[in-house]
């Protein structure tokens, strides 16, 4: 098993009333698997992702439980040891491609940054790997983009740059935190296809977080449904989508606008 999360909880301590954002979240993931977490905003799904990535400041919240990555519990690791995993073994892409890139740093430098942090490659070798990662992320003309700045790119392109930067060291797990929510529907479908291709080609496991059950169904083999920090239901994607056990899941499915009506077409598969 690659990832084994046991009773992960995130409790914010920096507010007047302590607030539990994630309550005893458990999940097992194998190499190369694509698992989805669905839930409405505030259900704790992004918080779970950030906690797994070690991105929640310890001064703000208590993260408890266990998160075993290939047998090593990431949660109690000191910052220095955790840094060795971040960007190398596990990577993350975020919801906001417009603001997640440094506006004054060239695209190339941002894509190859993890190489710079985690290794001692020459600039030439770094560039070669960066260009390969950009190609993998479906960016046209990587050589030309290498010297450009984020503001010269569209939202979809920026998300692809984020994907390239996250994949430059070929991590075994990619956490995708609502990566397509801020994008147009057509771009959304293309990015999902790219993620699928990457999973197939590189064997990268993907933990895909979304509020959109349909997107999750199209991409993931298994789904976890979250509500108010807790897991409501979990199971194979098809089963959860077509035969939900819990009322909340049914509600979530029913509340989804039908793509057939909106686009006059079927689901993108």
């Amino acid at each position: 098993m690659m990832l084994d999360v046991q009773e992960l909880s995130v409790a914010f301590t920096d507010r007047q009333e302590p607030f539990t954002a994630v309550d005893k979240f458990s999940l097992q993931m194998d190499r190369g698997e694509i698992v989805g977490i669905v839930g409405e905003s505030g259900s704790g799904k992004s918080m779970t992702a950030h906690a797994l990535m070690g991105l929640i400041p310890r001064s703000r919240a208590a993260v408890t439980g266990r998160a075993l990555f290939e047998g090593v519990d990431l949660l109690p690791l000191p910052r220095e040891a955790l840094r060795q995993y971040q960007g190398r073994d596990l990577s993350i892409i975020f919801q906001e491609p417009m603001t997640s890139l440094n506006p004054t740093m060239r695209i190339g430098k941002q894509v190859e940054e993890a190489l710079f942090i985690h290794g001692k490659l020459s600039p030439g070798e770094r560039k070669a790997k960066a260009l390969a990662a950009m190609e993998l992320a479906g960016l046209p003309d990587p050589e030309g983009l290498y010297r450009q700045y984020p503001h010269q790119l569209s939202g979809g392109m920026r998300q692809r740059v984020m994907i390239a930067a996250a994949l430059v060291l070929r991590p075994r797990l990619l956490i995708a935190d609502e990566p397509t929510t801020a994008l147009d529907v057509t771009i959304q479908a293309q990015i999902l296809d790219t993620l699928k291709d990457i999973n197939r080609q590189e064997g990268t496991a993907i933990l895909f977080i979304s509020h959109d059950l349909g997107v999750v169904k199209a991409l993931c083999s298994r789904v976890v449904v979250m509500k108010q920090g807790r897991i409501v239901e979990t199971g194979p994607a098809e089963q959860v989508f077509h035969h939900p056990r819990e009322d909340y899941t049914k509600l979530l499915i029913a509340s989804r606008p039908s793509r057939k009506k909106l686009r006059g077409g079927g689901e993108h598969e």
Binding site: M53, L55, R79, E80, R83, Q84, Y85, Q86, G87, R88, S91, I92, F94, E96, T99, S100, L101, N102, P103, T104, M105, E113, A114, I117, H118, Y149, H151, M162, A165, A166
Partner: protein, 313 residues
């Protein structure tokens, strides 16, 4: 480097022209006559007429301005009424002192504000941060001549670290700088306070940005995220502010030179106004304006270089 900069350049020249017109007309409007100031009360009509003819004072204002301007752009700043020497000669001997004072002031601003700003931003709300906030608030609200008098009192009269007597460059670079540190401090402290405040706010603002989260997710340490990502973005407004502060530093030195008895441009400007020595005043005013406008231009240029989002068409 493009249309926008050419436009700025044109604006710059226009501003300087306007300043020179204003300075020129101001002196033909205010009371007081250079002939009397230079020749004294007992001058004969003949002497006065000769003086006026020599310096072109018998001509109408606009014609005098035209002559002055055409000579000025060719590098001829005119003759001083009082000293009967070329203005350029007088100004150049004084400007060195003022430039030195301004340079030391600027160096002090950097030396004080950059480390303090970083430290204050490191732990917002911490002891250092709160102490810095109080200190900046106090120094920001004190005008630089009061600061000068205060520094003079504390360091020269009470602590006796220096003698309140000007030490020129001819007496050695070391002693010269050792003296200039105090007036420079009077100029630098209020500006440093503002820079600290700006830098602290700017760093904290950048630390909140999404791209810093991305930086951490790649395995950056706090220090490397700060160096590689935060600083460059946080420095953009600070660098712009500092470039514009150079103008203020020059202006501040005029006042502070009075307090510390430094024979620089400021002293010369004030005594020349008293003597109604227009050519000198005119040259100094336009030179100071050139420095201020030039620094604004520099700020604009730096901003464009540092922030790729500003289109360089």
């Amino acid at each position: 480097m493009g249309k926008a900069l050419l436009k700025r350049l044109a604006l710059l020249l226009g501003t300087l022209l306007l300043v020179s017109v204003l300075a020129f007309t101001a002196f033909s409007v205010i009371p007081g006559d250079p002939t009397q100031a230079v020749l004294g009360m007992e001058a004969t009509d003949q002497q006065i007429a000769a003086f006026r003819a020599k310096h072109g004072l018998d001509l109408p204002v606009w014609e005098r301005y035209g002559r002055w301007l055409s000579a000025f752009v060719r590098g001829d700043f005119g003759q001083s009424f009082k000293y009967d020497k070329p203005v350029a000669e007088l100004v150049i001997s004084q400007i060195q002192v003022t430039l030195m004072l301004a340079t030391v002031s600027f160096a002090l601003i950097l030396a004080i504000s950059l480390p303090l700003g970083l430290i204050a931003a490191r732990r917002p709300g911490g002891i250092v941060d709160r102490a810095v906030t109080v200190l900046t608030q106090v120094t920001m609200s004190v005008p630089n001549f009061i600061m000068g008098i205060g520094l003079m009192f504390v360091f020269a009269l009470v602590l006796k670290w220096f003698r309140p007597e000007y030490v020129s460059l001819e007496q050695g670079l070391g002693p010269h700088l050792a003296f200039l540190v105090y007036p420079a401090l009077a100029i630098a402290l209020p500006k440093s306070a503002m820079t600290v405040k700006l830098l602290r706010g700017s760093i904290l603002g950048e630390l909140d940005q999404d791209y810093i989260r991305t930086a951490y997710s790649k395995g950056n340490s706090r220090g490397s995220a700060l160096r590689r990502h935060v600083l460059r973005n946080a420095m953009i407004p600070v660098v712009t502010f500092l470039a514009m502060a150079i103008g203020d530093i020059m202006a501040g030195s005029i006042v502070v030179e009075q307090v510390f008895g430094i024979p620089g441009l400021g002293r010369m400007l004030i005594s020349s106004i008293g003597n109604r020595d227009y050519p000198v005043v005119q040259a100094i005013v336009v030179l100071l304006a050139a420095v201020v406008v030039g620094c604004n231009f520099l700020a604009d240029l730096l901003y464009r270089v540092m922030d790729p989002r500003i289109e360089r068409t």
